[in-house]
């Protein structure tokens, strides 16, 4: 119990951040027209590629001779970057169609 209360008090700001972000995420998209479900999912998917930051930090702090970590980390960066670049590009393509429709 003492350990838990110590953990909470030292990480209080983090816990606030998490709680507020979860609530924000719920509230952000509470009302979405069906036509936007797919683009929104795709856009959110691209944002989840933020995991790439972890791979970048991993490689930067890794030993330059540790080829195992470097190779796997680079693979991680590549995969996450496909998610990011492809995700935003595909979302843009979907939304481009909507724009054209508006003009017509």
């Amino acid at each position: 119990m003492a350990q838990i209360s110590e953990f909470v008090s030292t990480n209080l700001i983090f816990i606030y951040l998490i709680a507020f972000t979860i609530l924000l995420g719920f509230e952000l998209i509470s009302k979405v027209p069906t036509v936007l479900h797919t683009p929104l999912m795709s856009g959110a998917n691209a944002i989840s590629g933020v995991v790439i930051i972890g791979a970048i930090i991993l490689i930067r702090t890794s030993d330059p001779d540790d080829f195992f970590t470097l190779a796997l980390g680079t693979l991680g960066i590549m995969l996450a970057m496909i998610n990011v670049a492809g995700g935003f590009a595909v979302t843009d393509r979907m939304l481009e169609m909507f724009k054209k429709k508006k003009k017509a």
Partner: protein
Amino acid sequence: MYKTLLDIGFMMAAIAFIIGLRRLSAPATARIGNIVAGVGMLLAIAIAIVYPLGNGTSNNYIWIVVGIALGSVIGWIAAKKVQMTAMPEMVSIFNGLGGACAVILGLLEMIKTSADNKAAIGISIFTLLVGAVSFTGSILAYLKLAGKVQDKHVILPGHSYINIVFLIASIGLGIFYVLHPSMPLLIVFSILSLVYGISFVAPIGGADMPVVISLLNSLTGISAATAGFIYGNQIMIVGGILVGASGTILTVLMCNAMNRSLINVIIGGFGSAGSSSASNDEGKIAKEISSYDAAVMMNYSGSVMIVPGYGLAVAQAQKICKEIDDLLSENGVEVNYAIHPVAGRMPGHMNVLLAEADVPYSKLKDLDEANAMLPSTDVVIIVGANDVVNPSALDDPGSPVYGMPVLNVWKAKNVIVLKRSMSPGYAGIQNPLFFYENNRMYFGDAKDSLSKLVTEVKALN
């Protein structure tokens, strides 16, 4: 000072994600929203590359540059080349790759972290588990959507119980690993997590796939957030949790659009459940119609409602569909499109395809609008749709689609179904509509059939 600026930059990126998601959820601002989020991501990546990590960091920039360059090129080309019809599959693959990155991070961190740091190991193993389920689950979802894997080949009897066993085993083994880390156990755990992902998606029927992809998407977000804890990086935490939370809401919204509960979807069985009612239709014969008769029926009617489905998307028939629309409109026939929320493979999919063919927005009617118009519609043309016009959803509690809102096409005066054969739809259920008195079948590939109709209508004028 320098570091403070970079920290503020990270914060700006997080704000960009929030604004981006907000704008993505309204039609008028969606495109800008996507760009804002994308710029936020670029900013975050740039800062992560230059952020001071203390003295003696080797940086290893060459590896980072290679990874980013390869990933950007592959992602960009894939996104540009993919057919509009294959978008859902693409999103699923992208999502899986993000999950795979989380798996790699979780693995490497567990190898590096000392066995005494229980909190760090716990977080890493959670990241690994969630990332792995998202990874292999998304890949299987892709294979199912692309038609490369059939539901019946991957569903085992009592599959939902198997999944519960997997869940308990993963959590149990994870806790055991935190207490007694060892390399062989790590390998076993990784394999277990990857298999669990496949097993998780396996029993979920084709029609529910969009919901699952959305769910897996929020899992990737959660794994990104927990990976953020490992590195103490706020932008990963914020970005990941945002996707996790909004993805969960989106998943629920999608379930609501199909009038299904999330639990129902996860337990699965949509389309594989008993088709008790199918036998009732045996012996009945669906009536066919010739292309000439169909053309006459449409051309001399007052109003036509086109119901596009996945068959239209697969056959790339949206442009010919628009051609018929133009021909009929010239003759004073009122042409509209009834778009079921899950027409195609994903919500909104059909709108995108029709917009590509320059069908005006005002002609696309949503479920409620269309159902209000159908009783006064002369001819309904169903192009490659099936489950979304299945009357069993309203009157047959034994049907797997029972309860799903459908387009009440049978209320129109005449219905023509363009379909390749009498085989059941994507969900694997027979459709009694085909045997209704006011229904006619026109067999053939959606594109060929529509082309023939175009020729016939032209000949009439």
